[in-house]
């Protein structure tokens, strides 16, 4: 009995799967008509239950009329359909859906908590040990912030931090400007041109860092550029652009282009439209992109390692050399501060992109 049931279920499902693809194709054409009905049908249960009689009725009549009017493709609406309407809201969504699903996949919640613990316990340990008062990095000798004081007065650390900040700020500003221009201009290129350009720009994300590092070193040696700030900043700008560009592009896709058209119809010039309309609307994307560019530049070790000289040691390079000498309490402090930077940047950019979602 149960076996029978299951095979039947299987058959039904496979039928549906096969029928899926032509349906998806035609769905695109019918999207406009469907959008009207689906908003009424798939809305939240309470809402659709309240407004159901009137709105569904109207939508249904509208659909029938539209189908009849545009039905020169052979769609004939039978008479009996005109008076019909669904007797239930077209949704299977029920309260407590998430609980229902969890019961059916019992392990994923447990595994997820474990994975999150795996991600955060090491960081928590670093933060914890950064408040250790002892001279030993791993021997707990009471709470103290003395190593924070030591780090803030260590000239080598301050110099490395300053170099990193100079490079990161310059790379952030440059890459934000370049990425903004790129995102706003890429629409006007042909399909092939824009694909080539985006492939070129995103390539620095896909190439293994070690290869890009040695290759950039060979390249600047070949063109006769001396290692130091200039190649560092240019190389950092190059690999920051894809990270900066992503949130800006995502933000641009959510904007209503009719704002720009309205501005131009009201007599704004091309530049005025960009300056007064596009830029303010893109601001959350620009800020979150710039923050990401800053973090990516601050974090880079591999590529900088091949481009620096003695005078331009960046913070990650300095930490790496400290770590190779062995664990040390001041590394805990720097690591905690860098962790704090990541947290701040992630939270700020998440808030910025989240606000976009709620406004829309």
């Amino acid at each position: 009995m149960t076996h029978d049931n299951r095979t039947q279920g299987n058959r039904t499902r496979s039928n549906r799967m096969q029928g899926n693809e032509p349906m998806a194709a035609s769905a695109a054409e019918l999207a406009e008509a469907a959008a009207a009905t689906s908003t009424a049908a798939v809305g939240s249960p309470a809402e659709s239950a309240q407004s159901q009689p009137s709105s569904v009725n109207a939508e249904y009549a509208d659909l029938v009329v539209r189908a009849a009017a545009g039905g020169n493709g052979g769609i004939v609406v039978p008479d009996w359909l005109e008076s019909k309407q669904p007797d239930k809201p077209l949704t299977t969504r029920r309260a407590g859906r998430a609980k229902n699903d969890l019961k059916r996949f019992p392990f994923i919640g447990f595994i997820s908590i474990l994975v999150l613990a795996f991600l955060y316990i090491p960081m928590a340990i670093v933060v914890g040990y950064s408040f250790n008062g002892g001279r030993q990095a791993l021997l707990w000798q009471g709470f103290s912030v003395r190593w924070y004081g030591e780090v803030f007065h260590d000239p080598a650390i301050i110099a490395a931090t300053r170099t990193s900040l100079v490079v990161a700020l310059a790379a952030t500003v440059l890459s934000t400007l370049l990425a903004l221009g790129y995102v706003l201009a890429i629409d006007h290129m042909s399909r092939l041109g824009s694909r080539l350009a985006s492939g070129l720009i995103n390539a620095s994300m896909m190439i293994p860092e070690i290869v890009l590092g040695v290759a950039t070193m060979a390249f600047i040696r070949m063109i006769g550029m001396a290692p130091g700030y200039l190649p560092l900043i240019l190389a950092h700008t190059t690999f920051c652009i894809p990270f900066v560009e992503m949130p800006i592009r995502a933000r641009l896709q959510t904007l209503d282009r009719s704002c720009f058209e309205a501005a131009q119809d009201l007599g704004a010039s091309q530049f005025t439209t960009v300056r007064r309309i596009t830029m303010p609307l893109l601001t959350p994307g620009i800020i979150s992109g710039a923050l990401m560019g800053f973090v990516v530049s601050m974090d880079d070790y591999m590529i900088s390692n091949f481009l620096t000289t003695a005078g331009t040691t960046t913070l990650p390079i300095y930490i790496f050399s400290l770590i190779r000498k062995g664990v040390n309490p001041s590394i805990n402090v720097i690591a905690t501060l860098l962790l704090l930077l990541a947290v701040v940047v992630t939270v700020v950019s998440s808030v910025l992109t989240g606000r976009k979602g709620s406004k829309r």
Binding site: R6, G9, R13, A24, T91, A98, R104, I111, V115, L116, L119, P122, M123, I125, V126, Q136, L138, L178, G181, Y182, L184, A185, I186, D187, M189, S190, L192, G193, L200, A203, S204, M206, P208, E209, I210, V211, V214, A215, T216, M217, A218, L234, I241, R257, F260, Q270, I277, T278, Y301, I323, R324, V327, A335, L338, L339, A342, V343, V345, T346, S350
Partner: protein, 378 residues
């Protein structure tokens, strides 16, 4: 699209018309020009209303006949024949990024490929501009003192180690990332945002900091060893082992696997799962035929995002493996620093680049195909 752009084109037609009038009157004196222009502009609204269809058609035809030949391919490729859309910038603004990309991405790649075919100078680093295949030969063969060459598997072994480590890392990351991605995508919208943020924070944390955290944990005096000693099981050497560098790799690349998988599942309609259960599907069937099907593009890009950088990893094997595990990244780095054999280092880099390119192409092909199957791609 067409209906949107109609009003502006009509306005342009009108302006073109008045220009024509001015141009035709340019032979006579300026007063006549002024009056003609004034007449053209003042009469424009009326005449436009009366004979708009004809006029606009004519002027459109005249515009067509003005440029009958297509612009050359290089102009078309960069979209020279397109008008700037409102609120956007002229295509020239994309140029700086592209030039920088050409200089600092394509340039270095070309140089490294070129260097791999050159020969080694007698002393020091760098290359001698003389064609040779020594770099590639060294990958597979070893020459003894008398010039006889033998097959040498040492460097292949390094490649194999790297590939093995990268594969294990990717497998573990994908296996751990799938449940959490699924779990996050089933939460409420607000919880999803917070959980994604939690996964993203390690992603943006300094790579060296993350690796250092594991050095603390696995250290001889670290928490794990303190714990086992207290239990009376004694201390174990955990740091500077292959397992330690594997843990570091997994820890580093886990967010790289979670995020694309989550974004593939985020828009997933879980009513399909309900429907499947209602139709009598078992848990395994739902997982295999519905959820995994939707997650497949995310899994493909997750694999690519883990496998490629893990293959070229450098920091984790050095800090956690303690040099006992030699991966390709360490080999390249040593060729450019201590060993000073640039052509050989370039040859290894070129091989990695080719492997990366192939992997990226396969991943994007698989991703596209499965996205199309799942009905996600346009």
């Amino acid at each position: 699209m067409m209906s949107d752009s109609k009003p502006p084109t009509m306005a342009i037609d009108g302006r073109d018309n008045s220009d024509n009038v001015i141009n035709s009157a340019s032979g006579t004196d300026s007063a006549a020009v002024m009056t003609a222009a004034a007449a053209a502009t003042s009469g424009l609204s009326r005449s436009q209303k009366l004979q708009n269809p004809q006029e606009s058609q004519e002027s459109r035809e005249s515009q067509k006949s003005q440029k009958p030949q297509k612009p050359p391919w290089y102009k078309r490729m960069f979209g020279a024949d397109r008008k700037v859309k409102p609120g956007m910038l002229h295509r020239i603004w994309a140029l700086p990024s592209i030039v920088l990309g050409l200089m600092f991405t394509l340039g270095p790649v070309c140089v490294i490929v070129a260097f791999s075919f050159m020969s080694r100078p007698d002393v020091g680093g760098g290359v001698k501009y003389q064609f040779s295949l020594d770099g590639y030969k060294k990958l597979l063969f070893r020459e003894d003192f008398f010039g006889n060459s033998y097959f040498d598997g040492r460097y292949l072994q390094v490649f194999w180690t790297s590939l093995w480590m990268a594969l294990v890392t990717t497998a573990v990351c994908v296996a751990l990332a799938f449940p959490i991605a699924l779990w996050i995508s089933m939460r409420s919208a607000k919880a999803q945002r917070i959980l994604v943020m939690l996964v993203t924070i390690p992603f943006w944390t300094n790579l060296i900091v993350r690796t250092y955290a594991w050095m603390l944990i696995l250290n001889d005096n670290g928490p794990i060893n303190q714990f086992t000693q207290r239990l009376g099981m004694g201390a174990h050497e955990l740091l500077y082992t292959p397992v330690a560098s594997l843990i570091g790799l997994i820890y580093t690349f886990l967010p790289f696997a979670v995020l694309p998988m989550y974004s593939a599942l985020a828009g997933f309609d879980f009513r399909l799962v309900e429907a499947a259960y209602d139709l009598g599907a078992t848990r395994g069937v739902v997982m295999r035929r519905i959820i995994l099907r939707a997650a497949r593009p995310g899994i493909a890009s997750g694999i690519a995002l883990c496998l490629i950088p893990a293959f070229g990893a450098y920091v984790q094997p050095v800090l956690l493996g303690g040099g006992r595990v030699l991966m390709v990244g360490n080999l390249i780095s040593s060729q450019f620093s201590e060993a000073r054999n640039w052509p050989f280092g370039s040859a290894i880099s070129t091989v990695i680049l080719v492997i990366t390119l192939l992997a990226a192409l396969i991943a994007s092909a698989v991703g596209n195909r499965s996205a199309r199957k799942a009905g996600i791609a346009s």
